[in-house]
Symmetry: C2
Subunit: 199 residues, 2 copies
């Protein structure tokens, strides 16, 4: 339908998560029709530059352009707590709350037998290495409340048990501002199970 | 929240139509976390190359890497009919039907006083130039059935009237497979107005 050059451009964007064929076409035509050649060159160079300069933090495995990353390097953070998450974007979600002052560990995925992702494929080894120093007293499992995320949390918890480190799981329940009526049974069960005494 | 390099990458994607902040973050992390350096370089070069090699067809103003474009250059197309559309993607939408064998004219927008887009800002001049040859007997207005698209269709129709060229408008009505119940009143009115005799 389109010339091979346009088709190639569309396909580049269609590979991204959450971008369907229609959205990819819209982006491609925006580039060809609306952006100047200078803006396009900037887009290309920002992509190349970011890929070249961003790497995994040697400590927490988060994406960063300095290693260790600003969070791991900060003396203001509580280094006795590590919050384990699946993805770099989860770190920023927790940082936005302003409620957490410990360190992080990014697994870059979750164990998933169906997708052939085993414990060796995610950054569990690197977590164990960090814990061997004995400085950490609590590990918060903040993987997603999905089958894979929960399985990963349980797997890591079992590994850490003999090390005498406290392992906690973030609470699951009814989201603030939402309606009980629309909560699924699993969430509602978890909310009941995790109830706390009111003061 | 993110390092300046990651932030710059996110902002590049957030500028695209239909891509919000969350989607832009997801794309940025996909590039940084999932793509190889080679794949990223290919993405950047496809963008740069496409922008450099794609230009407007000198005849129909569609985006193309050869001018005139394959449709304008084809001897199999009926050059007595021109279908006027707003955007390049509208050409491909009509081509997908396989029902149209004439030529196209891409306006690259619609007249919109609110957005300060006047008739001089879209490719109307170029359309008039094509019609001056006298070869064209019908112009089909396939601009969108929006306020701006309709205003543009009416504006062009008035320009062409003195030239004795037949100007038609694509039909508006209930989409195939949809439910009458969910049609808005404007569409339903247009469907009634445009009713045809059944054979």
């Amino acid at each position: 339908m389109y010339s091979p050059t346009i088709e190639a451009l569309i396909e580049q964007f269609a590979q991204f998560p959450g971008i369907g064929r229609k959205s990819a076409e819209r982006i491609a035509f925006y580039i060809l029709d609306m952006m100047s050649e200078g803006e396009t060159e900037q887009l290309a160079s920002v992509i190349t530059l970011a890929k070249k300069s961003i790497a995994f933090c040697e400590v927490c495995q988060n994406l960063t352009d300095t290693s260790p990353c600003p969070i791991c390097a900060s003396s203001k953070r509580d280094s006795s707590v590590i919050c384990v998450v699946e993805q770099p974007k989860d770190v920023s979600a927790i940082e936005k709350t302003g409620q957490y002052n410990g360190l992080y560990h990014v697994l870059h995925g979750a164990i998933s037998p169906i997708d052939d992702i085993s414990p060796e494929d995610i950054k569990i080894k690197e977590l164990l290495l960090r814990l061997s120093s004995g400085e950490v007293s609590e590990v918060i499992m903040a993987t997603n409340p999905t089958v894979n995320g929960t399985a990963t949390a349980v797997y890591i918890q079992k590994l850490l048990k003999p090390m005498g480190i406290k392992v906690t799981r973030i609470a699951h329940g009814i989201p603030i501002g939402s309606d009980l009526e629309y909560a699924d049974e699993m969430t509602l069960s978890k909310a009941l199970e995790g109830r706390t005494e009111m003061n």
